[in-house]
């Protein structure tokens, strides 16, 4: 074995990741070559330093609690039917199974609603955006900053309008992932309430709109216009949120964007 070979295998040898034959070969080489064996001992020194100088950062004591809290909250948002306790479900399960069979026989009803799942996803995304201090990737109250920021990050350009004059200032924008695709999340604020607006291109499969829904204390309003799906979610009072969506709809149709 020559020095070039030995140098490329030195780390594998140090880490005990070589096969026995290679191990022997490199040991022989190290016996006869001062340069390589010095180079090897340098590596040992550094590794020993890394291990003994306690450079391992242990998680802070309260991190586990913080994570348990947020995961449990997310679990609740994903399974909002908390009153549906398990013993109850034991009776309900056969009924549900029967109902499912009926639904499958009648394709018009389309099985367990993907719409509901999406609503849960939207609410979960909203909660996540508030929890992990990741509300906006681009922070700006200027629609002409937020809109171009999405260029190259999405395969569509979401309509962005600032509604500060009407009392709903734009805070920024963010990338999110919903309905199996990347979506634009626009963030607005009303007093202390955060409003997330999720936007992505509408396909032809429907979901053109629906009644206001409430999940976990969050209101969800959705509609489709100019080829885009809009989902608005916030803990803002229902009437105010309805007013906000009216403003948003109006500005989307009047502004050139």
């Amino acid at each position: 074995m020559d020095c070039t070979n030995a140098q490329t295998l030195l780390d594998g040898y140090l880490d005990g990741e070589l096969d026995p034959v290679r191990n022997l070969e490199i040991e022989e080489h190290l016996h006869g070559c001062t340069r390589c064996s010095l180079s090897y001992s340098d590596r040992q020194v550094i590794r020993r330093g890394l291990k003994t100088e306690s450079l391992y950062f242990k998680a802070p004591a309260d991190l586990q609690k913080r994570i348990q809290r947020s995961v449990r909250q997310a679990a609740k948002a994903e399974a909002p039917a908390g009153w549906l306790s398990w013993p109850w479900l034991r009776f309900a399960a056969p009924l549900a199974a029967a109902a499912l069979v009926v639904l499958m026989l009648v394709p018009i009803f389309g099985g367990p609603s993907s719409d509901e799942l999406l609503t849960q996803d939207v609410v979960a995304s909203h909660i996540r955006s508030l929890m992990v201090n990741h509300l906006a990737d681009v922070r700006s109250t200027d629609e002409h900053t937020v809109k171009p920021w999405f260029n190259g990050k999405l395969d569509f350009s979401p309509p962005v309008s600032d509604l500060a004059k009407q009392g709903f200032p734009l805070v920024g924008g963010r990338l999110d992932y919903l309905n199996n695709r990347p979506v634009a999340a626009l963030v607005y604020q009303r007093d202390k309430h955060v409003i997330n607006v999720f936007v992505w291109p509408a396909d032809n499969s429907g979901q053109t709109g629906g009644p206001i829904k409430t999940l976990q204390g969050y209101h969800v309003i959705r509609w489709a216009s100019s080829g885009m799906n809009f989902w608005v979610v916030s803990d803002l009072e229902q009437n105010q949120l309805a007013k906000f969506t009216d403003l948003l709809k109006a500005s989307a149709t009047t502004s050139p964007s």
Partner: protein, 174 residues
């Protein structure tokens, strides 16, 4: 998502919080963001827990932590250590072939820490995963999503660079 699932998730994932935090701490280089990264990664892990059928929960979680950190690095540190990292143009530094009879004293922790932090993230993470987390090459390959053979060559480059930084710091030291 049922209660059983939540319990299963906590049993599988929570024992590896130290590993998750250590990696995030080294990639973000500060405590506050590291905590956020671990929390966000755990939420993602929870969301995709149905898709986890493996046995190595630590490597699985570390993969998610790493991806979360890289997304964050790209967004927050544009142009710093992340741009156009090219394996080809990073040849083994000359120092790798220049043995130095390195000597580290017990009070050199801060110097080691700073030197490791100075490495580009791609090099820093392999050293952290191997020498601090003590993952096998196979696990590292899984976490950083490269072929097994690349792990050893990247470790070689990373250690050579680290040695280079340490040597020059030791020379500066009075």
């Amino acid at each position: 998502m049922g209660k059983d699932q939540l319990v299963r998730f906590e049993q599988a994932i929570l024992p590896h919080l130290d590993a998750a935090y250590n990696l995030a701490r080294w990639l973000t280089r500060n405590d506050h963001d590291a905590q956020d990264m671990v929390q966000e990664a755990c939420l993602r892990a929870f969301k995709f827990f149905d898709g986890f059928h493996g046995v190595d929960a630590r490597a699985w979680l570390l993969t998610i932590v790493r991806n979360t950190c890289y997304t964050w690095l790209e967004q927050n540190r544009r142009g710093q250590a992340m741009t156009s990292f090219d394996e080809e143009i990073h040849t083994v530094e000359e120092d790798a072939l220049n043995p130095s009879a390195l000597a580290l004293k017990s009070d050199d922790r801060e110097m080691l820490k700073q030197s490791l932090e100075q490495l580009p993230a791609e090099f820093r993470e392999v050293i952290v995963l191997r020498d601090l987390e003590e993952l096998s090459y196979k696990q590292i390959a899984e976490v950083i999503n490269v072929p097994l053979g690349t792990v050893m060559s990247r470790l070689a480059r990373a250690r050579a660079r680290l040695k280079g930084i340490l040597c020059s710091r030791l020379k500066e030291k009075p």
